[in-house]
Symmetry: C2
Subunit: 318 residues, 2 copies
C-alpha cells in the first residue's frame, strides 16, 4: 500500500495485484450525443489498445439523428448489442444529452444480469443511477472514449486509475482537499453529474440511498444553479440522509458583474450552513481530463485527515 | 363578452365589470435578485400610479447582498412587512435567483391567511407553487415591477390584463395557437417557469395536482434542456395526471451546429409522441413584455377551437 500527497486535483491510488476480474476488453457504444468527429474514436481505440485493452466499436457508434447518436431505437439497440457481445467493459463514447429518453426502454434486469461493467460520466449518470435504482447493480463513473482517450491531450493517471479499477486492483483513492469536514464512515457511493442527478428527482430512476456517500460534479452551470440543485437535494431530504457530500470539479461557468462576489465558494459556504452533513471538496472527477473511476453503488469507506481525503474502494469485493 | 382573433402572441381578454375586489394598491418587495438600477423601480412606480394603483415600495427593495436583494433574513423580513401593510397586491420587483433559499423560512399559513394577492414570475414560481402546495392558496403568475413596468418599453396589454385580473374582471383569456390538441375541460391552473417547477420536484414544495392544467415557460434554456425538464415531469408521473399542458414562451436560447435540426419544435414533437395529454402552444406568457396574468391554484376552464385556445378564468369566483 502506498499513500502520498499529490498536487491538488491529482489522486493517489493504492492498488492490489491479487484480485483480477476480466478487464481484457472494452466495447464502445454511443448512448447520448452524436460523435462529431470519427477521428476521436479512432484515436481512442488506438490508445485503449496501447493500454492493453481489446477494443470493439458498436456498429451504431457513429449514428446520427439530429443531435443524437441515432434515434432512440438505434441507441437502445446499441445497449442490447453491448449485452450480447463478449467484452466485459462497456464504455460510452461521449455524453451530451439523450439517455433520459431511453430510461423507460432499457431492460434493467438484463443489464444487471449481464455482469458487464458500464463506464461513463456526464449524461451517463442517468444510466448509472437508474441501474442502481432499479437493480442495485454497480456501474462506473469514469472516462469516456472520445473525451478522455480521443482528444489531442490525454491524462495518463486517468487511464491508469481506470485500468486498475476495471481489474479490481484499486483499493484506496486519496486526494488533496482544501476544505474537508471531518468524516470517518462507510456507505454506498453514488452520484455523478449534478444536473443529471436532479433530473431524476421524483422519477422511478432516482436511487433511494440512505447512509450513502454522494459525489457531484458539473460543467457550464453557474454557481447559483449549482446551489439551486444542491438545495433541491437538501429540501428533498436526500442530503440529510447521506454520510457525506463530496464535491468534484465545477468547471466552465462564467461569473457576471451582478454576482457581486457570489461565486462557487460562496455557494459552498451557504451549503455548509444549511446542510448538516460533512462536505468534502477536491475530488478529481468531473469534466476535466484528470478524473478518477468510481464504482457507483458499491459500499466504500471515506475518511479525512489534514488536507487529505481517502476513499476506500475495495470493500464491495469482500 | 367580446371574443376576437388577435395576432399570435397577443391575448384577447373578456372582462366583467360587476365583480370588483380591492385592487387599489401594490406593495413591491424584492424577494430574489438585487435591483441593479434604482431608476427601474422609480419608473415602475410612476407607471403603476398612472395606471390607477397606489404604490408603496418595501424599505428592503434596494437591498443588496452579493447577487441577492439582501440576505435571506432581509428578504424574509420583506415578506413579513408585506403581510402587515395595507395594500392588497404584493408584487415582486424582479426575479433572478433567491426564493429557493427562503422556502423553509416563510410562514405559509400566514401568507395564505393574509389574503394578499402575490404576483410575479420566473424565480417567483417557486413561491407560488410552494404556497399552493402548503396551503392551496391562489397567487398570480404575472408582471413584475422592474421588468414589465420599469424598462424603456412596456406592453400596454400586459398592464391592462393585469389590472383586470387584479380587479376580478377577467373572465376569459383567448390566445392564438398554431398547434393545439383538442381539449375541453376544467381543472386547477398551475405552473410557471419550467426550471423552477422542476427544481421543486421531490421536495415538500411541489404541489400535487391531479386533473390540472399546467402551463410552462422558460428563458435561456436550450431545447434539449426544456425537453429534459418536461421528460422529468413525465417520468415523475405528473404530466399524465394533467388535463393539458400549455406552452408559453421559450426565449433567448441559442441553437448550435451540432443540433443538426433539433430545435424547440423537434422537442415539442418528441414530447407529443411520448406524452398522452393535450399540448397547447402559444400562451402569451414568459420572459417577454407581452404576458397575461394567471391565477395559480384557481380552477379554470380550457377549450380549444381552430387556431384558438380559451382559458376561462372566472370559475374560482363563483
Amino acid at each position: 500500500m502506498i499513500k502520498a500527497n499529490l498536487p491538488h486535483g491529482h489522486a493517489e491510488h493504492v492498488h492490489d495485484q491479487h484480485c483480477k476480474p476480466d478487464a481484457s476488453g472494452i466495447y464502445v457504444i454511443s448512448p447520448s450525443g452524436a460523435v462529431a468527429d470519427p477521428e476521436t474514436l479512432t484515436r481512442a481505440g488506438a490508445r485503449l489498445i496501447a493500454l492493453g485493452f481489446k477494443v470493439a466499436l458498436d456498429r451504431g457508434v457513429l449514428h446520427q439523428a439530429q443531435r443524437f447518436a441515432g434515434t432512440d431505437a438505434q441507441r437502445l439497440a446499441g445497449f442490447a448489442r453491448a449485452l450480447k457481445q463478449k467484452l466485459p467493459i462497456v464504455m460510452a463514447s461521449r455524453g451530451g444529452y439523450g439517455i433520459g429518453r431511453l430510461l423507460d426502454g432499457l431492460d434493467w434486469q438484463a443489464i444487471a444480469d449481464s455482469g458487464k461493467r458500464f463506464v461513463g460520466h456526464s449524461d451517463f449518470t442517468a444510466f448509472s443511477l437508474a441501474l442502481l435504482a432499479k437493480t442495485e447493480a454497480i456501474s462506473y463513473a469514469g472516462p469516456m472514449a472520445c473525451f478522455d482517450f480521443g482528444g489531442k491531450k490525454t491524462e495518463s493517471l486517468t487511464a491508469e486509475i481506470f485500468g486498475e479499477c476495471m481489474r479490481g486492483e484499486l483499493e484506496i483513492l486519496s486526494f488533496e482537499t482544501q476544505d474537508a469536514d471531518a468524516v470517518d464512515g462507510r456507505g454506498i457511493l453514488w452520484g455523478g453529474n449534478l444536473a443529471m442527478i436532479t433530473s431524476l428527482l421524483g422519477t422511478p430512476y432516482m436511487p433511494k440511498i440512505k447512509g450513502g456517500i454522494l459525489f457531484v460534479e458539473d460543467v457550464g452551470e453557474h454557481p447559483y444553479r449549482v446551489e439551486r440543485m444542491l438545495n433541491q437535494l437538501a429540501q428533498a431530504g436526500i442530503l440529510a440522509k447521506q454520510k457525506a457530500l463530496i464535491l468534484g470539479g465545477f468547471t466552465e461557468y462564467r461569473l457576471a458583474e451582478h454576482d457581486r462576489g457570489y461565486d462557487l465558494k460562496a455557494a459552498i459556504a451557504y451549503l455548509r450552513k444549511s446542510v448538516k452533513i460533512p462536505v468534502i471538496t477536491g475530488l478529481p472527477f468531473g469534466h476535466t481530463l484528470m478524473k478518477v473511476t468510481l464504482p457507483i453503488g458499491a459500499k466504500v469507506g471515506l475518511a479525512t485527515e489534514k488536507g487529505l481525503a481517502h476513499l476506500v474502494l475495495d470493500e464491495h469485493q469482500h
